[in-house]
Amino acid sequence: MEEKENHNTHNHSYAPYIIVWLALLTFTAITVAVAGINFGNATIAIALIIASIKTYLVLTIFMHLNIENKTFKIFVVIAIFFLAISFVLLFSDYYNF
């Protein structure tokens, strides 16, 4: 009984997942459409921004980070932060500022 109470604190609905899935498909269509237009150097930036938005949706809704304990969110942010650091430091070697 104790467990059941825990699990009933969230409202289990299919709707949010279907909405997020439609959003993900829409973003995929947008990214394909945008790739056909030549924005020069901005093209890759736009593609990566859209990919990041899609990732955010998957992390928060599909992977339940929105209803998860705060510890999980902090862990994920730190993991992404360190990955970002490796990219920045690597490119500081290649890119001429």
């Binding site: 009984m1 699990h7 299919y14 899935w21 995929t28």
Partner: protein, 206 residues
Amino acid sequence: MSSEGDVAVHVHRDDEASKLGMWLFLFTELTLFGGLFLMYSVYRYTHQAEFHLAAKNMNTFIGALNTAILLTSSLTMALSITALQRGSKKLSLSFQAITIFFGLIFLVNKYFEWTHEIHIGNFPGSESLLNKSQGDILFFGLYYVMTGLHGLHVIIGMVVIAVMMRFTIKNAITRTNYVKLEAAGLYWHLVDIIWIFLFPLFYLIS
């Protein structure tokens, strides 16, 4: 002490810790693929024009189709957990089966893509590729390693979900104890996220 109710209360289980363990494992996957993405970004930066030309060989339609397939499989994975939470074991099993099925279709598409590339001589070490520029060789090397490793993850994910289906049938995964299914779902979604980045980087840069 021996009544059914007492047993249920004394179950030693920590779902939060189980999930945290799964997330920690996913972070190691992030470093595995992160390293490859780092390598991709540097080579792309140093061979920009060649990467753009090499990407022209990619079939954007199949790439986009596979993206949609994998996104849909992520949806059915998430729905399988919701179905179980709502008490429908049958529906949850169906969603898990559909997820595996989508994974299979993804791999079949991948198989056709690879066979096509290999047929026209775009594979590591082939004579026609070695005669091309350094950028082409790097692009296809990265393409095979990254999509190959990703494909391997899809296969592992399918096996894991199949095991989860067995657990569900045997009632080792139930309405009140589904952390195993959640962990399998987290893995499947990570594989989806990796593809979300692979798709634009290999198919949409031409």
